[in-house]
């Protein structure tokens, strides 16, 4: 039975992915998430509203594919917080909400007149979670970021790449996804704290700090052993550092720009590799133990690539998997979304109904609950789509009042 969190209401100022991804996780478990957007700028503070990809190349503030993906199962209302009446309605909404979530730059909520102290004056046990690149305190509180900047400053960009090349970094905003995960964790933990003690609180989430917790062993190697990751021959992130494995890498396959990842974990995998490939080099005594293989990493990478280059990546991966060696084709989007039996069986790409876009597939969740599983059916909200449901149904305004507020520019 879905709807495990249907007793919770979130007053949601988030946008893009770093914020919207967090409240999405709560919405798909049934929390009532109410997105509040600015009618004056047609909600375009969230730049994804009007950005590609589009269905059938139809463009507009209600037609952004990424926006739809990140905002499924949420309600959307417009509220002009420059007006007194708009502020009053927000106060009414906060008074009946458990959580206020936002990922503006530091200082924006304060300027709107809704920082933590103001929110708390409306509702004593409110939970307020703010999320931005550098947090709300500290020398860089005015600095601005987006995913790639967060990744650069937190050490993650540098950690991805080949020696003697510039950093490869991340080809997407890994820290927008992950910042959203930390934000969801923060909201849920603060709810747990409230359930135990009755207390609300403010959580200040700085995505660069969250990112810097994801390189732990490299950090300790420096603080304990004085060994920096910035050193000759490092990083080499397709190789395995913790634990050491050889061969371990992404190797070329038969067709242009096709690749296979292979991880030979231990001596058993190495022996199996000799069996599976039948190659003479894979049975040489000098490579039989890890020390021998580590000493010849470059040479083994060449030999491995010689074998993989002669085969299709899926075919080679299947062959190696038969003997229990971790191997996987580097799947392109079509392959993992439309042709991977596992994502299909899991139900990983549910289709939603969106008022303007029609039926669209979106990211599902990588978890299944035995009792209160997630549900994704409704698309992201069009601008102000749920004004009547929220201002009428929740706050008790009449249809005439809502229409008048629309004309006055409050909604």
């Amino acid at each position: 039975m879905p709807g495990g969190l249907s007793h919770l209401r979130i007053c949601d100022f988030t946008g893009q992915l770093a914020g919207a991804g967090a409240t999405r996780f709560l919405a798909v478990f049934g929390a009532q998430v109410i997105r509040i957007e600015d009618p004056v700028h047609q909600g375009r503070w969230d730049i994804l509203r009007g950005m590609p990809p589009y269905v059938d190349d139809r463009r507009g503030v209600d037609l952004g594919g990424a926006f739809n993906n990140h905002n499924v199962e949420k309600l959307g209302v417009t509220l002009n917080l420059r007006t007194e009446r708009g502020k009053e309605l927000l106060r009414e909404l906060v008074a009946i909400s458990d959580v206020v979530a936002e990922n503006f730059s530091a200082g924006v909520m304060e300027r709107l007149g809704f920082d933590y102290e103001a929110l708390r004056a409306i509702r004593e046990d409110i939970i307020y979670v703010s999320n931005c690149g550098f947090g709300h305190e500290g020398p860089y509180r005015e600095f601005k970021t987006w995913g790639p900047i967060v990744q650069a400053v937190s050490g993650l960009t540098f950690s991805s790449g080949l020696p003697d090349q510039p950093p490869a970094g991340w080809g997407y905003s890994y820290m927008d996804h992950t910042g959203a995960y930390y934000m969801a964790i923060a909201i849920l933990m603060a709810l747990r704290h409230r359930a135990r003690t009755g207390e609300g609180q403010w959580v200040d989430l700085a995505c660069t700090e969250a990112g810097a917790t994801l390189t732990g062993p490299a950090l300790l190697d420096y603080t304990v052993n004085g060994r920096p990751l910035r050193r000759e021959g490092s990083p080499d992130s397709n190789r395995s550092q913790h634990p050491p494995m050889v061969p371990h890498g992404v190797y070329p396959s038969l067709e242009e720009d096709t690749w296979i990842a292979i991880a030979c974990r231990d001596d058993r995998d190495w022996a199996a590799l000799g069996e599976a490939t039948g190659e003479g080099w894979a049975r040489q005594a000098r490579f039989a133990d890890l020390m021998g293989r580590l000493a010849a990493q470059g040479e083994l990478d060449e030999l491995m690539a010689g074998w993989t280059r002669a085969r299709g990546n899926f075919e080679a991966a299947a062959l190696l998997q038969e003997t229990g060696i971790p191997a996987a084709a580097v799947q392109r989007p079509r392959e993992r979304i439309d042709e991977d039996a596992n994502t299909e069986a899991w139900g990983l790409w549910p289709a939603v109904q969106h008022r303007e876009m029609g039926e669209v597939r979106v990211d599902g969740l990588p978890v299944h609950f035995s009792e209160t599983d997630w549900r994704i059916e409704r698309g992201g909200p069009c601008l102000g789509e749920h004004n009547e449901e929220v201002f009428g149904g929740l706050l008790g305004l009449s249809a005439a009042e809502i229409a008048a507020l629309g004309e006055e520019g409050v909604l």
């Binding site: 997407y172 062993p217 950090l219």
Partner: protein
């Protein structure tokens, strides 16, 4: 004494390999009592480098130190019937049973969810595996590398030069992502249990977690059947975008972010050059000044407006020129203070010395009493003002809590 964390009073029993150990840390550092069950010879990740002074030993792995802060350790030989009963007794008193591994490991009959739930109806069991349980590919062997390769992230990362392999980002992020979903899900189940009194089983699939953590890699295909292509240090996309990484005067790289696109940003670049005495050395200054003088830019006319194209080009070259004259740190802070979203590309250890991170107290000192010293660790991922994150104790020595935990079990009559 530190203030109580939000998970104070919560009991977690952890029986995890490398896939789920980070989930246990995330819960433990927020106040949950996490008991890690290890075999008598120790969890295999105790043998993972790097080591204290580069010498191996069960209590010397820095990787183990990082992933097991605030946890307790008990050893059980699960090949012995009596020890398995102890494990069941530990699970019977737990709120959460956190498990990770292969399907064979997870499917052990005596710790199957149905059996455990009978004695402990409130139990939340969270099981992480590479492909999910009962799934078509569940028997495949997997590591962080193969999870990220099959799951999508690797396809999107790498270099403009496609003869170089696509890249896996470092740090075992595939395990981290699965662990993040495990923790988010655990917390949802806890809030549900507060309402219903009942626990449940949660199946966490690492391959699926990677698949839904690729941003445009997935939704470009889902919405428009478009395939992103990798590029050096920036978002993979359908069409090539301009490079965004530049090497500074000190040899370190920066991400130059979005170049000047508004009259105010051109004014800021001009002021920056002027302050550094570089106005005349930069040959395209007149174009920057033109950009500064225009009232607004009509981006819709960019294709026809050759002067505007030249102005934008000059803005980009000015940023690259400034980077070549400054250290990465000077460029980063100088640019940010002028409103440019620029990022210095730090190596992880450099973050710990950055003044902002130091001022916020991000690096934390943790006592290692058996070594007679403290060690600097990465700190809080989030700042809770009432119920803060805190490393309650360094990672446990092997079996360090056997006596205490087993005595508690006796007292509780298990």
């Amino acid at each position: 004494m530190t203030a109580a964390g939000p998970l104070e009073g919560l009991r977690v029993l952890e029986l995890c390999d490398e896939l789920g150990m980070f989930a246990g840390k995330l819960l433990a550092d927020m106040g949950a009592e996490v008991i890690k069950v290890e075999p008598p010879e120790g969890d295999r990740t105790r043998a993972w480098p790097p080591f204290l002074d580069d010498e191996p030993g069960p209590d010397r792995s820095l990787s183990f130190w990082h992933y097991n802060t605030s946890k307790a350790s008990v050893t059980l030989d699960l090949r012995e019937q009596g020890e398995r009963e102890r494990l069941r007794a530990l699970i019977a008193r737990a709120d959460i049973f956190l498990q990770s591994g292969t399907p064979e490991g997870l499917a052990r009959e005596d710790i199957a969810y149905e059996a455990l739930q009978e004695t402990n109806p409130g139990l939340i069991m969270v099981a992480l595996s590479p492909f999910g349980q009962g799934m078509p590919r569940e028997r495949e062997a997997a590591t962080d590398l193969t999870i990220l390769a099959g799951g999508g992230p690797v396809w999107s990362c790498g270099y403009d030069d496609h003869t170089l392999p696509p890249m896996r980002g470092g740090g075992n992020q595939g395990y981290h992502t699965a662990s993040h979903f495990a923790v988010m899900s655990t917390l949802v189940a806890l809030l549900v249990r507060d309402e219903t009194g009942r626990g449940q089983h949660i199946d966490v699939n690492a391959h699926a977690a990677a698949n839904v953590t690729t941003e445009a890699g997935s939704y470009s295909w889902l919405v428009a059947r478009q395939t992103v292509q990798r590029q050096t240090g920036r978002h993979a996309g359908m069409n090539p975008s301009m490079p965004s990484q530049v090497k500074c005067a000190d040899g370190r790289y920066v991400n130059t972010g979005i170049p000047p696109r508004r009259p105010e940003s051109f004014a800021a670049v001009c002021e920056w050059l002027e302050t550094l005495g570089l106005t005349n050395e930069f040959l395209e200054t007149p174009l920057l000044e033109e950009g500064m003088r225009r009232e607004r830019f009509d981006l819709a006319l960019l294709a026809q407006d050759e002067e505007l194209q030249a102005i934008f080009g000059a803005g980009r070259s000015a940023m690259n020129f400034l980077a070549s004259k400054l250290t990465a740190y000077e460029f980063f802070t100088g640019g940010q203070r002028r409103g440019f979203q620029i990022g210095i590309i730090y190596s992880p250890e450099e973050v710990l010395e950055d003044p902002h991170f130091v001022a916020r107290g991000f690096p934390v000192e943790v006592e290692h009493p058996e070594l007679g010293r403290t060690v600097t660790y990465p700190g809080a991922p989030y700042r809770f003002h009432r119920s803060p994150w805190c490393i309650r104790r360094r990672a446990p020595l092997l079996g360090e809590d056997n006596e205490r935990v087993f005595a508690e079990l006796e007292r509780e009559g298990a």
